[in-house]
Symmetry: C2
Subunit: 170 residues, 2 copies
């Protein structure tokens, strides 16, 4: 099936954690995610943009990721305990997000699919909080209370047939 978008999905059970000002040197990301993995916490949508900031002479970057809302407390506790070891500055938490995604093998090299998905959300006045894409999948985080509407908007924009059942886990 080489349609640009063959399916849409909604996961309305995630939270997002952003770790501000992680020292930008090799090994920091590995330590953070080894810590979470060692406690069996699965992470989704890891986002580190290339923006750097210098804080007290140290170059830093922010690393954000999503977890199941049920794991949020445990993840924050683990990270807090690692604060001095790793040297990050603070955690910003968004407790309730809705992750909406469009997937399709046909979207590779097909400019315009992401724009169409973003426009479908814009037309309903839904603000995009985060974006993360791969070559065959586009995911956005939006307000939890707009999740179902966002899914419907994307579903309609790509003309998916009524038969399609959106799953909550991609």
């Amino acid at each position: 099936d080489l349609a640009p978008v063959s399916g849409v999905a909604l996961d309305a059970s995630q939270s997002q954690i952003a770790i501000r000002h992680v020292p930008d040197r090799p090994g920091m990301a590995a330590q953070i995610f080894q810590l979470l993995a060692s406690e069996g916490i699965s992470v989704d949508m890891i986002i580190q943009s290339q923006r750097r900031r210098v804080v007290a002479g140290q170059t830093c970057r922010d690393i954000a990721f999503s977890v199941a809302e049920a794991d949020l407390g445990r993840a924050c506790d683990l990270l807090e305990a690692s604060r001095t070891v790793i040297g990050w500055e603070r955690l910003d938490v968004t407790e309730k997000i809705a992750k909406v995604s469009a997937v399709g093998k046909g979207m590779v090299g097909c400019p315009g699919v992401a724009a169409k998905m973003f426009a479908a959300l814009a037309d309903r006045g839904i603000n995009i909080q985060t974006i993360v894409t791969s070559q065959i999948k586009i995911s956005c985080a939006v307000d939890r209370d707009r999740g179902v509407e966002a899914l419907q908007a994307i579903h309609d924009a790509f003309g998916l047939s009524e038969r399609y059942q959106a799953t909550s886990r991609e």
Copy 2:
């Protein structure tokens, strides 16, 4: 093939553009990517983290993405022409990145795969510039001149057999 990682890939022909301080209201992301799509410019790895900044009373977010290096000039020209219409502040360009990826259907819900990939890069002293993940794929941008070494490090870390030929396009 449900191995956590069944393949690795390197794309050493991309550039990265970060658009700083895009007004955080519905429609902005759609306009930016419609503009690029209308000129046939394919984008990869769109990254928008949830970090917001207030600039002159307007809440803004940064949006970064990668393009083929061959499209960099055209993409920047198009964006520059849209600056007042959309209202973003500045472009930060990284002309030469190497995107290394690990893919595998088995990584869903398998904590530790991302940590292992990040550790493989850390062990070689390779700094991670950006990270973007989906449930079955993890991609990092590193220095272009460390791309092949990064690919080798990840390939070895996941014990992929010699038979595997890394493609430059996933």
